[in-house]
Structure formats: structure tokens, C-alpha cells
Amino acid sequence: MTARVNAMSLWTVVPARAWTSAALLIAAVGALALIISLAFGNTGINIATLALLQIAAVLSLATFSGNSGIVSFGHSAFLGIGAYVAGVLTMSKGVQATALPHLPQWLQGHELSLPFVLVVVAIVGLAVGYLTGIPLSRLSTGSAAIGTLAFLIIIHVVLIGARDFTRGSQTFYGVPRLTTVYVAFAAAAVFILVARILRETPLGLRLRAARENEVAAAATGVNVREARHAGWAVSIMLAVIVGALYGGFLGAFSPKDFYFDLTFTLVSMLIVGGMLTVTGAVAGTILLAGIVQILRQAETGIDLGAFTVPGIFGLPQLGMGLALLLTIWRRPLGLVGLIEIGPGWPQQSLAAVPAATAPSSSAAALEVKSVTMRFGGLVALDDISFSVPAGQVTGLIGPNGAGKTTLINIICGQAKPSAGAILIDGRDMTGERPDQVAVAGLGRTFQNIRLFDRMTALENVAVAALAKGHSAAVARSLGMIWLEQLGLAARAGDFAGSFAYGDRRRLEIARALALEPRFLLLDEPAAGMNPAETDELIRTLEKLRNEHEIGLLVVEHDMRLIMRLSDRMVVLNKGQKIAEGTPREIRDNPKVIEAYIGSKRTQH
């Protein structure tokens, strides 16, 4: 089975529409570049080359920012690294001797050709991306954007300080102009393909899931930190490569060419077009490159015969600023929004799905062992023990403030208990990360539904299937199967954000099931449902228990649902377990009546 999966080519791993979409974009960009080159002669070729390089640069940025949702302000500096490294390596020996007299021996006189220098630069880029990604991926989402800004400044300072290699803030000249319009087009084409395909790979899916909802992504088995690290490293490698080509286009440059102005340009292009799609990144770049070209003509003043309009210095910046404001004001997702150019949603042929693994030992259970949680002096949970056997439904109830949420967080790995342990099939999961707990066999849904709203229903479910080590193609097929089971197959290609409430609940359950969990934690699954929807939910859950041998842990306020569904129930009150037993026993337990039902009666 594994051999089969490994043998599957990238062609089938990525949905066919991604390839079509990339091809359409490349064709459009090529046609546009051709028209400009033909219409405006040499100037046109220059304009087209610059625009093509800008497309590649914005796509390198989009690879990280678009998929992760973290806007990077640092990419322009990494372009700078590429430009300087490639500059030193391609420069002719004679120029090098005058421009960089203190260059160390081992860097002198390489005069590399374009293909070689691109290979070297790609390796350098990957290394730089990997190293800078180590701190970056550890930062929280908010701090990460700021981390990228720090990189921008650090690299700028280093480029100016490393005079022997870069001539400091003076112009670095004599770089052979190897980047012709053809090279630029090839780069743009390759980058469009890479960026478009990457979205659909496991890495792209994981990054996007984490972008949409970090907590839910972790609960779906995504190691957010690792995904961001990988995404960043790839993105920086691309940026450094574009930088090399950009340097080979300019011929002479200085560190300030790779500082805030370039960042502002690249980020504006990405945002105006829409950072969530590759189509958006390309469209935004073309649009703003056009506007900037026109404004640059006007910058020196326009001669209208009778009188001249005085020039305004910085007009291109003004235009970009206004375009950016208008976009954020009127179309926050960018001009293109969520749409990728290309065919609609034809069902591709599904990959073969491996047979489900048989459930392991019969003694399987999710065990909560003497869990205690203290917040300062407050004991939120006091020595709680119970177990959730596989193939049964365990109900967890308790009045508000009983400690249910704290207990759930501990079971799912979001919080570490002060004492005690959580065991899944006998394996100690205490202190493991949420994504590790998820992969180990615990799926969950959330009280306030957490879906990946700007991803399709199928992608939502596929992310979970990926966590079990399936290839992207198999993950998609499994995703379809789960969507079918919950009656959502017809809407597989729709964005999760467009689903109605009841469907959102079911989609969340489908996603949790795609983890092939041994245990499923449902946090108030009937919240906000009407009686008809609740009945439907009960039928679904009973079917699950019967067909899949999954242990269900249901936290619920809806007594009708929990009494009907549960095999056993656990009752918490004020951080203590006050009862455990069958629904009938619980109903008759005076302690429970006092703590829970009793207090409710007195209210009426």
C-alpha cells in the first residue's frame, strides 16, 4: 500500500484544476509581457522584465504570507541577500578587483554563469530561510510579523556594515545583466507554478489551516510551528532566487534598494490583488506595476502644451498608498478575493483508499487519572479520574464553573495538569502538544465551532486525513468519504464559511473523524440546534458509535440528548467528580439533583 502511495506522481497529488489554473496564469502573464514588449520597444522590454520579476518576488512573499496569513515585511531584505551573493559570484574578475578590493580569496573570480549561480543562490536561500525560520516559527502569530520586520532591519544593517563584500551603503556596481526578459518570464512562470501547486500540497493545506484557526489546526493534527518553519524556508529560498535575478536586472544597486520602499511595494501589490490566492498576487502585481509606470511618467510633470502640470515627487508612492487604502476599505480580501482562476469544481477521479486499520486491543480506553489543576490558590479540578471506553458513549455534565472546559483543555493537550495523567490506550499523553494528542487518536469538536472558513469543505477534512500520514491524494479521497458519511458530499467544493449552522457542526465532526480517531470529544455538539437538528445529530452519533468502534466523550447541557445517548455519565461540580454511572443512576442520584437539576428547579 505504501509503495503505491509513494509511486504516485505529483500530477495526481495535486488536483488537476491547480495545474490548469497555473497554466492559464502563465499564459496570461506571457501574453501581457509580449504585448508590452512589442508595443513599446526597448522601454517596453525593460518594463515587462521588471514586472515579471515583481510577479516572482510577490509570489515568493505570497508563498509564506498568503498561506500562513502572517504578512512578512522582511522579504525585500532577503531579495537583497540574493542580489549581493549573485553579484559577487557573477562579477568579472577585473571589475571585482576595483569594486571589492578586500574580498576574501575564496570568493574571488568565480564568474559563474546564470544556471550555476541560481543553484548556489537557492542553496544559500534555503539555508538562510531555515536558520531565520527557527526563531520566527516560535513566535506567536502577532509577534511573527514583527519578527520579519526585525529581519528587514537586521539584514539592512548587516549589508551596510559588511563593506568588504557589499561596498557598504555605496553603489554596488558591475553586476552582469544576465536577467533578460526571457529569463524573467521563465522565473515568473516557474514561480506561478510553484506557488499555485504549493497551496495544494500537504504543506500548503497545513499552513492555510493554521492561518484560518490555529487552535483547530492543532486539534486536527497540524504541527503549526513545523508547518510555518517549512513554509518560511521555502518562501525565503524563492525570495533569495528572485533577488539574484533582480540584481542581474539592475546591474548596480545599494542596500536601500532592498529596504522599506521595496517592502511597501511588494506588500501593496500582494494586498491589493488579494493575498489568499495566487491569482490575486499576480493580478495585484500587474495592476500596481501598471499604475506605478504611469505615475512615474507623471512624476516629472506633464506638458499639456498651454501649461505644464508641475511634477509631484513620490507620485508612485502616493498612488500605491491610495490603492492600498482603497483596497482595505472596500475589498479587504483584495480585488480577487478567494477565487483562483481556472475551471470550477469537477470531481477528479479519486485515489485508491487503503483499508482502515483494525482497532487495537479490546482494553482500549481514554483514561483520565487523578487529574488536578490549580490556578494559584484556586483548585479548578480536584483529583478527577474516569475512563472513556472505546465503542461507548461517555457523557460529561456539570453546571457552569464545574471545571469542564479546564478538563477538556487538559485532555486535548492545551493545558498541562498540575498533577495526574491522561492516557490514550495506555499511552501517557500528559504534557504532549495538542497536535500530538490528535494524531495519537483523539479527535475533537469545539463548543464555538472552529472551521477553516476560507478553505473548502473537502480541504477542511483532508487536513485531518493528512495528519494520519496519508498522501494528499488519498487524504482527499478519504475526505470525500467522510463528507459523504455526514451528508455533505454535494458541497465538497464550497467554502466552509458559507455553510449553515447545522452543516458547520456536521463538517466539524467529519473533520474530527477524518483523523481516524480512537476517541472523539464533542464539546456541546447540540448547542444552538433546534430539536429536529438535535434528533438528527443523535442519529449520526449513534451510527458512529456502532459502525466505527469509537469512544465518544460528549460534554453537553442538553439533558435530553445526553441521557439518551450516553452509556455512562460523569458529573462534575466545583472541580470535583460527584457521581459516575448509567444515565438512570445519575438521574436518581441525590447529589446530582442537588448540584445540578435541583438548583435549576429552584430557579423556576
Binding site: 504578512v71 510579523a145 519578527g147 526585525a150 506588500v267 500605491m320 498608498g321 491610495l322 476599505w329 479587504p332
Partner: protein, 295 residues
């Protein structure tokens, strides 16, 4: 000993300016989740206010007042015409809005006033130093420290004693609750911007006192630093912003004083590298802002 004390004075006066600016960023961020990159342009506006006031020969104290009033007005105007329409945008959207506002204002300064720097003549008394017997202390750093201390004290009083100040602190904790209590959101937000403008104005005066000129890009570098300071302290945390500002000032002066000659050009790289280390150690900053968490 002399040099060491001198460095401490420098660190505190520089850190004070960063603290004022970071505080301005934090006041706004805590209420509307906006990292205001155009804060630097408020400084520049303050600088031009001072420049024009001196150019029309107003007495020096009026020039100082003009700086603060100009910055405050500019803060209110940008709030009304740029940030208020975008209030529904997310944090990144707001940050980018401020990026755009900053770029647009800079182009306006360059064309409307001058791309070159304008000298701001300062009274001669400011350039001296006080001899304390065992060491000299420059008047500007001294005034800078005093002004910073007074500003921080005034802001604390405002936040703790006045109704508006209390409303602002409440808004920073939970904006929705504030609305439920019947306090007008627009008013609180406008006051936050006004406070940040005043702080930017004061910081601009101190900054100009050290360099004696104003240009369209003047606010860029200090606000970049302030931004870093606000992050070190914990974005949106007021006491964090002050702590971050002083920490950054101290770091910069320490690295400047004790890095070997060859490494000096890389000072900012060292400082920011250190900042990244702090963030890895405490991702939410030294004194994190209070966040109401509920699953």
C-alpha cells in the same frame, strides 16, 4: 565612573523618548488593535509645527506648545479620515492602512514643504551642560529625563483619576463591555489618538532638541525603535511599553559603549537580534497586555 554615569544618563534619556513613543503606540493599540506606523509622521508634523512657530518668531514656549498641538491635531485627523472608516479591518489591515497613511503623508511633506531638512533654531541655553563637580550632565538629556518623567506622571494621573482615563483603561481590557455601559466608542478612541498625538509631540520636541532640524523622514527611525520597544514590552500593555522603551534605550547605549570597534556598524543588528531572543523567551513581551480569554 564618569563615563559610566554619563552612559546611564544617555540610556535613560534615549530610553525615555522611546518609552513616550511606545506608550503612544500602546495607548492606541490597546483600544483599536492598530499598530500605527504613521506615528512617526505625527512626530514630523510636530517638528514642522515647531519650525513654523519659530519661523514666525513666536516665543520658544509657544513653539513647544505648537509642536504638541500640531501632533495632537494630526492624530485626530488621521483617526477620523483614515482609521475610522477601516475599523472593521483586521489587525494586518489596520497596520497596512497606517503604512499607506505614512507613505502618503511623507509624499505630502516632501512636496508641500521640502524634501530637505529644515533647521530648528533652539535657544542657546539648551546647549550647555551642568557641572556637578564630579561629572557633567548635558542640559538636553537632563530636560529630556525630567520631561519624560513628568509626562508619564501626568498620563498616569489622567488614566487613574479622570472618567475618560478610566474609560480608556476599561476599553483596553474589554471594549464590548464599555459599549454596554453606554460610553461612546468614538469618543474613547478619539481620546486615545489625542493622547498618542500629545506623546508623539513631546517626544518630537525632545528628539529635535538633540538634532536641531526637521525633515520629512524624521519620525521614521525613532518610531521604528518605539515599535520594537512596544513589542518587547508586550503589545498593548502600557507599563510594558514604558519598560520596553527603557530596555531598548539601555540596550542600544550598552552595545554602543561596549561593542568592539569593528562590530559597531552592526550595533542595530545586535540589538534586534537580542530583541528576537527576548521574544522567543517571552512571546507576549516582558509585561503582557491583559487579554480576556474564554473558550
Amino acid at each position: 565612573m564618569d563615563i559610566f554615569l554619563q552612559q546611564i544618563i544617555n540610556a535613560i534619556s534615549l530610553g525615555g523618548i522611546y518609552a513616550l513613543l511606545a506608550l503612544g503606540l500602546a495607548v492606541v493599540f490597546s483600544i483599536v488593535s492598530l499598530i500605527n506606523f504613521a506615528h512617526g509622521e505625527l512626530m514630523t508634523v510636530a517638528g514642522y509645527g515647531m519650525f513654523f512657530a519659530i519661523a514666525v518668531s513666536l516665543p520658544f514656549p509657544f513653539a513647544l506648545a505648537a509642536a504638541v498641538i500640531f501632533a495632537c491635531a494630526a492624530a485626530l485627523l488621521t483617526e477620523r479620515f483614515a482609521f475610522r472608516p477601516m475599523r472593521k479591518a483586521d489587525m494586518t489591515g489596520l497596520l497596512l492602512t497606517s503604512f499607506a497613511v505614512s507613505a502618503i503623508l511623507r509624499v505630502l511633506f516632501q512636496n508641500g514643504i521640502s524634501a530637505r531638512s529644515k533647521a530648528v533654531p533652539l535657544p542657546a541655553e539648551l546647549s550647555g551642560a551642568i557641572d556637578l563637580g564630579f561629572f557633567h550632565i548635558g542640559i538636553v538629556p537632563l530636560l529630556s529625563i525630567v520631561t519624560t518623567a513628568l509626562s508619564l506622571w501626568a498620563l498616569t494621573l489622567f488614566l487613574r483619576r479622570t472618567t475618560l482615563g478610566k474609560a480608556m483603561r476599561a476599553a483596553a481590557e474589554d471594549f464590548q463591555v464599555l459599549r454596554l455601559m453606554g460610553i461612546k466608542a468614538n469618543r474613547v478612541i478619539a481620546v486615545a489618538f489625542a493622547v498618542s498625538g500629545v506623546l508623539a509631540g513631546v517626544a518630537a520636541v525632545l528628539w529635535i532638541a538633540q538634532r536641531g532640524s526637521v525633515d520629512p523622514l524624521m519620525g521614521f527611525v525613532p518610531v521604528l525603535k518605539a515599535f520594537v520597544a512596544a513589542v518587547i514590552g508586550g503589545l498593548g500593555s502600557l507599563s510594558g511599553a514604558v519598560a520596553g522603551g527603557f530596555a531598548l534605550g539601555i540596550l542600544e547605549v550598552l552595545f554602543q559603549a561596549f561593542l568592539p570597534e569593528a562590530a559597531l556598524p552592526f550595533r542595530d543588528a545586535f540589538v534586534l537580534g537580542f530583541v528576537i531572543l527576548i521574544l522567543i523567551w517571552r512571546p507576549d513581551g516582558l509585561i503582557p497586555a491583559p487579554v480576556s480569554r474564554r473558550s
